[in-house]
């Protein structure tokens, strides 16, 4: 399920937390898109371009177009080097693209955008970007699928903005895990079908390939060492837990005080 996230177009929310970071999964999906021949645009607000490109080989890196909003997102340097219009301008420019091929837009991160832009403006822009394929160009030729991957840090936003983004998204992936093993809970809304909810265990290899797994491995679960036999707690007690046959018979034949009988 995790490896077919990009089959649907539209907005995919990657919800991560402090304990389970989502940038690695974002990079793994970016790599998948690039390997499929798609053009990939990265709106980089949280980490430097070097850090984002780290781990990708040159084939992948050549397919990535990085829009750098890490160095000077608010134009404090006033050198004129900052990209005009800021991140919102760059996102809006992607709505007006003229090429026809499929494209993936990775937002690193959607949380940064949500903290700096009004929620309604951001939602309108996201809707326009992710639904371009349903609005063909003026000459009637169809536009390729658009995937928008948005990294969202769950703890930073209230239920209102989170709900608004959820309603826009076709797919929501919530990262979690246990005992060092990462999992992704995938909530998928396909048109005219029931939403599906699945959990997929996975790990990400150093080259950012996705390795899907069955579940937390047995070895990593804490259990008693098989070489030490389980201890019988009833052994070596200083009191008697068991009844002899005579004691059992005496107990069974005892008349309880609240029972009526002919002797009473």
């Amino acid at each position: 399920m995790l490896d077919s996230l990009l089959a649907l177009g539209g907005l995919v929310l990657l919800r991560d937390s402090v304990e389970w970071e989502g940038r690695s999964l974002l990079k793994a999906l970016v790599k998948k898109s690039a390997l499929c021949g798609e053009q990939v645009h990265i709106l980089g607000c949280e980490v430097s371009e070097e850090e984002f490109r780290e781990g990708f080989d040159s084939d992948i890196n050549n397919r990535l177009v990085y829009h750098d909003f890490f160095r000077d997102p608010l134009n404090w340097s006033e050198t004129g080097e900052a990209l005009p219009g800021g991140p919102l301008g760059a996102l809006r420019a992607m709505c007006k693209r003229t090429d026809l091929g499929p494209v993936t837009i990775a937002l690193d991160s959607l949380s940064w955008l949500l903290l700096h832009l009004p929620c309604a403006t951001l939602c309108q822009t996201l809707h326009a970007v992710s639904h371009q394929d349903s609005c063909p160009l003026g000459d009637g030729s169809p536009v390729g699928k658009v995937h928008v991957l948005g990294l969202l840090h769950e703890e930073l936003h209230g239920p209102g903005p989170m709900g608004a983004l959820s309603s826009l998204a076709q797919t929501e992936v919530t990262l979690g895990g246990t005992m060092g093993q990462a999992s992704a809970r995938i909530l998928c809304r396909r048109p005219r079908q029931h939403p599906t909810d699945q959990t997929q265990w996975f790990s990400i290899l150093p080259d950012f390939s996705l390795d899907l797994q069955a579940g937390p491995s047995i070895e990593s679960q804490p259990h008693s060492d098989p070489h030490i036999p389980p201890v019988d707690p009833t052994a070596h007690l200083t009191f008697n837990l068991h009844l002899s046959k005579k004691e059992r018979e005496a107990r069974d034949s005892l008349t309880l005080p609240f029972q009526f009988s002919s002797e009473k």
Binding site: W20, S48, F70, E155, G158, G180, S203
Partner: protein, 266 residues
């Protein structure tokens, strides 16, 4: 610096990692001992340190620093330490004419301002100088603490933006480190502080969280320290991601022990 804490973090002044953001937070206790640790750690590592000290006076940090083996006065005189004493210089904003904006200029502004002047102060303090003086190893920014900026009227996003620019300049451009302290308000509902704390947590490489004991004050165990290394999912490192220790603060050191293993109860 506290040698036991260095052991827990598996680091020494000679081989500390560079380009990292370390987040210190405290909940129901005083985590300032961590600030003193990192101040003396990086001075001993021969780093150029910019200390934005908003909570205590210079002499307070100096007295504690001397117990930990560093002399802040001498470090400042030889140019290794740039010290912004918030308590003193905040008054200058109002009573002294400045040619350029004061680092704490936001105190004068009626509307929610930004920390661009403070960032420019930090950038100026840590920019590399090639005058041939004794070369410092790498620059370090230390802030004590960020929560007070929220109390002074700034929004959480403004403080996050300040740290963003500090990360871009100090960590990425200059390959230095940033260490900041934020208080965790805990039960008290403080949305702005929560946004600040969670936002910084997502950007940090290492989080040290000092917590008071759930059962209250104890003479022999002053609190517990949770250490969280934030590593990417695709990292192959086998080291523990998270450790918890209890600690006791003494006059010149802090001793750490596993939960329930305080020498007082063994």
């Amino acid at each position: 610096m506290f040698l036991e804490l260095n052991n827990l973090l598996n680091t020494t002044p000679e081989r500390a990692e560079q380009g990292k953001l370390t987040l210190l937070c405290d909940a129901k206790t005083d985590g300032s001992f961590l600030v003193h640790h990192f101040l003396s750690f990086y001075l001993k590592a021969n780093c150029k340190v910019c200390f934005v000290a908003l909570i205590q006076s210079f002499s307070h940090y100096n007295i504690v620093g001397q117990k930990l083996g560093v002399n802040l006065t001498m470090a400042r005189e030889r140019g290794q330490l740039v010290f912004l004493e918030g308590l003193k210089s905040a008054v200058d904003v109002f009573f002294q004419a400045q040619e350029k904006p004061h680092p704490l200029q936001f105190l004068r502004e009626a509307n929610a301002g930004n920390l661009k002047p403070l960032f420019e102060f930090v950038r100026e303090a840590l920019k590399p100088v090639d005058s041939g003086e004794a070369g410092w190893t790498y620059p370090v920014l230390l802030v004590d603490d960020l929560s007070v900026l929220l109390s002074l009227g700034l929004g959480a996003v403004a403080v996050l933006d300040f740290i963003h620019y500090c990360r871009a300049t100090v960590c990425w451009e200059l390959k230095g480190n940033v260490v900041v302290l934020v208080h965790d308000s805990g039960d008290v509902e403080d949305e702005e502080n929560d946004i600040l704390l969670n936002g910084l947590s997502h950007q940090s490489h290492l989080i040290l969280r000092a917590e008071g004991l759930a059962t209250g004050f104890c003479r022999d165990v002053h609190g517990q320290l949770r250490i969280l290394w934030r590593r990417p999912l695709q990292s192959t490192s086998q080291r523990d991601q998270s450790l918890t220790y209890q600690y006791k603060i003494q006059d010149r050191s802090v001793s750490f022990f596993a939960k329930g293993m305080s020498p007082a109860v063994l």
